[in-house]
């Protein structure tokens, strides 16, 4: 397959950030930001994006894609080599300007929470409030403890708390000084799966309730989709797509995004008579490709339906039970493998010949380079 | 909140400690009515005398005890910034060396010239001897007939092979003794002597004079060469020990007994000349001489002061006529000779 080459589909030609340019100033604005530990190998390259007041942005990508570096650059822990970062319209980072982290009023929740082990819950939460008046500080700590539901634990020390409780402390500590925005680095990666889902819900409500502008780093697309207003997908230091979760899933800008956010197969096709002809049948030519062009059609498992059981030129290779559905791997006549999901109540035998029908409402096409 | 941070701050404590240190250690020694003494003489052999001086005059004493040569080096390194006012050593050669390096200043005091004979002073009175110690043969009375030994040089005879104990090459009195032999008997005699004692002593080379005396008393060896007071120290503890002191080289053509002296000099850069002179005055006085010598069973240099009765009377023997002031110039060639012979 040729999907290794990351290509921009004609359908998403415009730069992701362009839709924000010119609007009344966003809370956070990154312009062509490049950061590097070694100048030859930038960790992130030419990132541009904006976040508005109250929005939740997820930085999504595999490990090493530069999402944490971007977050740290926003927080002020990394300097930028090229480009600018604006917070509330003020320039905080550029090759010549660097506001230290303590001046940015940006709250941060670390992956390992980084709770101060020598301080109790209340002192951890009150850490950033030492300039506040005593009574104000106390009431703010109290408010935060209530907010994250840690009442009665304020005298405990971090090591006496469960993972979920620790995360709440970290969150409360970051929110306590009323930051202009909250940055979170893989906040759920240290929790067990049950807890993750619970905490994700809680966090979502809390951020919405407090209208906190947030940036969340994650490698889990489910998490990103569940939380975010906007998802920014990074790959090898580049921002490859920044859109709403729905757009990211259904209209990925390139095969990388398509595969990263869910199961996807790519079927080669050819434009004939304004349609995309493939071995699975014809698709609409949504990309506006010229006739005769070779393209790849993205097919998600829910775009296909198994129809003719016992007859057909495709064959079920394996079945994977996924609870509410079954995921079938199906070998086409050409030898190509595609995936198809079906309700878990319908069970087809492995090795059974089947026929496939396309039920997609839209088509995503990528240029095919052979 | 702030207060509690500073409670945990060790830096403040450090500042206090360091400043304390400066106050304690760095305070200059220039207080009036005080004297700083660099002493190469063991503390217990000098402190009682200095204490008594302090009591008598009210001049307080600060002392640095160390090796004589080390203190000489220190004086030289410190130059005019030295805190030392006087320099006391057990060995006159070091004092003479200090004089040559212009580290000492001459003192003209009647009391000194009256009390201390001139061979025991620097020609210009830059240093003054305070007590004498002789380098002698100690022998085991049940193993040795003293009549067979007339000269110190005789212990180098092959007949004493394996029966002699000697100090190590680093011993200052050995070095001074060899210098005197070189001056009195010539280079060749000195070399023969060194080769002989090296051969005769074998493994009986000791770092401490006390061990030589011990070995002789136990009969492990028949003879040893030591400073005289070690013999009397041993006899004080073990009155029945079969050891005795032998005065050699007393014949008409003998060189005489080798005597070295402990002494004192006033540093060239002292700021307490008057107090230093008072100390010298005290040490050469009859009372001072007696106290100084008796602490270590040495010979007072003041002729009117009684020698400890257990020692051979000062008048009963003749001393080698090599002025102590010459020890310094003799030292380097002596060291080379010792190194060449390969004494350990």
């Amino acid at each position: 397959m040729n999907s290794q080459t990351v290509m921009q589909s004609p359908g998403t030609k415009k730069f992701p950030h362009s839709q924000f340019q010119g609007e009344s100033s966003p809370l956070l604005h990154l312009r062509h930001v490049t950061c590097a530990y070694h100048s030859q190998h930038p960790a992130v390259r030419d990132i541009s994006l904006s976040v508005n007041q109250g929005e939740i942005l997820c930085l999504l990508g595999p490990s090493g894609c530069g999402k944490t570096t971007t977050l740290r650059a926003i927080a002020g822990f990394e300097k930028v080599m090229i480009g600018e970062i604006y917070i509330n319209g003020r320039l905080v980072s550029s090759p010549t300007v660097h506001w230290p982290p303590d001046k940015r009023r940006v709250g941060m929740v670390f992956q390992d929470y980084a709770l101060f082990p020598h301080l109790c819950v209340a002192d951890n939460i009150g850490f950033g409030l030492n300039q506040w008046e005593d009574s104000q500080r106390k009431s703010q700590i109290h408010k935060m403890i209530e907010l994250v539901g840690l009442a009665d634990l304020e005298r405990r020390y971090p090591h006496e708390l469960s993972g979920g409780q620790q995360q709440r402390v970290a969150l409360a500590r970051a929110l306590a000084p009323n930051p202009v925005m909250l940055l979170m680095d893989e906040p759920f990666s240290n929790l067990d799966p049950d807890m993750t889902i619970k905490m994700r819900k809680e966090l979502y409500h809390l951020l919405r309730q407090t209208k906190t502008t947030s940036i969340l780093v994650t490698h889990d697309h489910d998490e990103a989709f569940a939380m975010a207003d906007q998802v920014a997908v990074l790959h090898e230091g580049n921002l490859v797509q920044c859109d709403t979760p729905e757009t990211i899933y259904h209209v990925p800008s390139c095969p990388f995004v398509a595969e990263f956010v869910g199961q996807a197969d790519f079927i080669p096709g050819n434009i004939q008579n304004g349609k995309v002809e493939t071995e699975l049948g014809a698709f609409t030519n949504q990309g506006g490709y010229e006739g005769g062009a070779n393209v790849l059609v993205m097919v998600r498992p829910d775009d296909l339906q198994i129809t003719k059981v016992g007859a057909g030129n495709a064959r079920i290779e394996s079945r994977q039970f996924r609870g509410s559905e079954n995921l079938y791997a199906i070998r086409l006549a050409s030898g190509r493998l595609v995936h198809c999901s079906a309700s878990s109540t319908e069970i087809y035998d492995v090795d059974a010949p089947v026929g496939l029908t396309i039920i997609a409402t839209h088509t995503v096409l990528f240029e095919h380079q052979s | 909140m702030k207060k509690h941070i500073f409670d945990r701050n060790p830096f403040g404590v450090s500042l206090v400690l360091v400043s304390l240190l400066v106050v304690c250690g760095g305070s200059p020694a220039n207080a009036a009515d005080s004297l700083t003494v660099y002493s190469g003489r063991a503390e217990r052999l000098i402190k009682p005398v200095l204490d008594s001086f302090q009591q008598k005059t009210g001049i307080s004493i600060r002392m640095l005890t160390s090796g004589s040569t080390e203190l000489l080096n220190r004086l030289q390194a410190e130059g005019e910034r030295t805190p030392a006012d006087v320099f006391i050593t057990n060995e006159a050669g070091t004092l003479e060396r200090a004089r040559e390096l212009h580290l000492l200043r001459p003192v003209n005091m009647k009391e000194v010239e009256r009390a201390i004979p001139s061979p025991f002073r620097a020609p210009d009175n830059s240093w003054v001897g305070l007590s004498g110690r002789i380098w002698v043969v100690v022998y085991n009375t049940s193993l040795v007939n003293p009549d067979n030994l007339n000269s110190l040089l005789d212990v180098a005879n092959p007949s004493w092979k394996g029966k002699l104990a000697i100090p190590t090459a680093g011993n200052e009195y050995l070095q001074a003794g060899v210098s005197v032999i070189r001056a009195a008997k010539g280079e060749e005699a000195a070399e023969t002597f060194l080769r002989g004692i090296k051969e005769n002593s074998g493994n009986f080379v000791f770092g401490k004079n006390r061990q030589i005396v011990d070995a002789v008393a136990k009969g492990k060896v028949a003879l040893g060469i030591v400073n005289h007071y070690y013999i009397f120290r041993h006899l004080e503890k073990h009155p029945q020990a079969p050891i005795a002191l032998l005065l050699t080289d007393q014949g008409p053509d003998g060189m005489g007994t080798i005597m070295n002296a402990a002494g004192i000099g006033v540093t060239a850069h002292t700021t307490h000349l008057a107090e230093a002179k008072r100390l010298i005055q005290f040490l050469v006085s009859q009372a001072g001489q007696k106290m100084f010598a008796e602490l270590n069973k040495e010979y007072p240099l003041h002729s009117a002061v009684q020698t400890d009765p257990s020692l051979p009377p000062r008048k009963s023997f003749r001393v080698a006529e090599v002025p102590l002031a010459r020890l310094s110039e003799l030292r380097e060639p002596t060291m080379t000779l010792i190194e060449r012979v390969g004494l350990r």
Partner: protein, 527 residues
């Protein structure tokens, strides 16, 4: 980027730590420089007179002590980790105690014990007949014995750790293939614990090469002692510098060797799941034999010397010879060591912090510079400071020069604990503090400092004790009227005034014991 990099490098803290590091390296550089520029004739003279003997003595002592400590350390560790015999639990920690006795204190006790007519010779001659020859403490054997008894705990501790972490499965695997017990020991067991042993060996030799106190009291001519003699016996700093340079090169070899082999041993020991050996019960006669062996070694290395120190101290006490000056010596020692340790902690903090948090080339260079103090034996450090500071009137002859010498010499020991303490603090904690509005120094003060307090305290105690025990630099640089406990021990011991030397020696030993016990629990590398 280059602009930014330069900005980062030239932070005031980095400049400060560069200055400290420079201050520490300066004496070493100066000694090397004066050795290099010394007249070639001096090199030739030393080469034809002193150097061969010193080289032979130093190497043979290091080698001999190495073999002896290896034998003692490994055999003790073997018995203690493999056999259940009488008092095994006691012996397991007891063999750390000899580390609490400074080498010169052990040497001075043994000059008495081994002296002609001394207790040990008498005991020997009771057993072997009245004329049985006995060795003198002032000999190769004497120096060998004292240094061995003083340093074998290092090998013991390393060997014990290696043996306790040793995976018995290897042994069983070898036996399953038909190897005999001896073959197993030589082909599996020893090769596997070899890195730990070699590391211990290097540590011991480094210690022997740079020891001053024991060899000087036993008058055994090694490089360290010769350097001291050159400074004190003759006014010959050029010759002293040359000998120092050779000594430093020696120490460097052993230090680097130790580092290298320790990395190896760490690698070897990290092998998955370990099934530690179980203790074998043994018969009464075997048990008695092992206990006897332990009693002899422990007695010679610790019990006997301590007994005599207590004995002499009580004699001195009874004869009213412990006067008020004794309190002054304690005070001087405390203030000096406390000041030096505290200063070292304060000055070492930026070095350790920068090296851990911002390991730029410059910061790494700085801390490595500070570590050179390791290879600077006391007399050499003193020599360098003598040459460098004798012309600075406000410094020379004050306790500050002494503090500086301690700093140079002992900062490395402290830096090691400080670095590991800082490394254990998650850097995220500082970033979290900064993200909450704390400035860098506030983050350090409010978060890092409280968390490294334990490690820093250990570093302080370590440096404090080293300073308390330090001898050659103290002897050479102490101000007038400023004697410390260590100096008193040396002065009185050189005069063979055992009763007077004992109280300060006993005090140092008693102060060191709890620290040795404490430190060996975490990190055996003490002393």
């Amino acid at each position: 980027m280059t602009v930014l990099a330069r900005q980062a490098v030239l932070s005031p803290l980095a400049i400060f730590s560069f200055g400290i590091s420079g201050l520490i390296v300066l004496p070493l550089l100066y000694v090397v420089y004066s050795a290099m520029k010394a007249d070639f004739a001096i090199w030739q003279r030393l080469w034809s007179t002193r150097i061969p003997e010193l080289f032979l003595n130093t190497v043979s002592l290091a080698f001999g002590v190495g073999i002896a400590t290896l034998t003692l350390g490994v055999s003790l560790a073997w018995f203690i980790t493999r056999y259940e015999f009488w008092g095994r639990g006691f012996w397991e920690w007891a063999f750390v105690l000899p580390l609490a006795i400074p080498s010169y204190v052990l040497a001075y006790v043994y000059t008495f014990l081994l002296d002609t007519g001394g207790p040990l010779e008498q005991a020997w001659q009771v057993v072997m007949g009245p004329e049985a020859p006995f060795f003198s403490p002032y000999s190769f054997i004497g120096a060998l014995m004292v240094m061995t008894l003083n340093t074998f705990p290092y090998v013991y501790l390393l060997a014990k750790t290696a043996l306790q972490n040793f995976n018995v499965t290897f042994e069983e695997a070898a036996q399953a293939t038909g190897a005999s017990q001896w073959a197993t020991i030589f082909r599996v067991f020893l090769p596997l614990i070899r890195p730990a042993l070699v590391a211990g060996l290097f540590l011991v030799t480094l210690y022997v090469v740079s020891d001053f106190g024991a060899v000087s009291l036993l008058r055994f001519q090694t490089f360290t002692y010769a350097v001291y003699q050159q400074i004190t016996g003759r006014y010959d700093y050029a010759a002293a510098s040359i000998l120092s340079l050779l000594l430093v090169s020696f120490a460097l070899i052993f230090l680097l060797g130790e580092r290298w082999f320790r990395r190896q041993s760490r690698y070897y020991q990290m092998t998955g799941k370990v099934r530690p050996p179980t203790l074998m019960p043994c018969s009464v006669s075997r048990s008695a034999l092992m206990t006897g062996y332990c009693v002899v070694v422990f007695g010679m290395a610790f019990a006997l010397p301590t007994y005599w120190l207590v004995q002499w101290t009580s004699e001195a006490w009874a004869e009213n010879e412990i006067g008020t000056e004794f309190l002054t010596y304690i005070w001087n020692s405390m203030v000096l060591s406390g000041g030096a340790a505290t200063l070292a902690l304060v000055l070492g903090t930026p070095l350790a912090y920068l090296a851990c948090r911002h390991p730029t080339r410059l910061n790494t260079l700085c801390i490595q510079g500070a570590y050179t103090g390791y290879v600077l034996p006391g007399p050499v450090a003193a020599l360098a400071l003598l040459i460098l500071f004798s012309s600075i009137p406000f410094l020379y002859g004050t306790a500050l020069v002494l503090v500086l010498a301690y700093l140079i010499h002992f900062l490395p020991a402290g830096l090691q604990s400080m670095e590991s303490a800082i490394q254990q603090v998650n850097p995220n904690l500082e970033e979290a503090a900064k993200s909450l509005g704390a400035r860098s120094y506030q983050a350090f003060q409010r978060v890092t400092l409280p968390l490294v307090r334990g490690g820093f305290l250990v570093a302080w105690i370590l440096m404090f004790l080293q300073c308390m025990k330090e001898l050659p630099a103290t002897l050479l640089l102490r101000p007038v009227g400023f004697d410390t406990l260590a100096v008193r021990i040396w002065l009185e011991a050189s005069e063979e005034l055992y009763q007077l030397a004992a109280p300060p020696a006993l005090l140092i030993v008693l102060m060191t014991i709890p620290v040795v016990m404490l430190l060996t629990r975490k990190n055996w590398q003490v002393g």
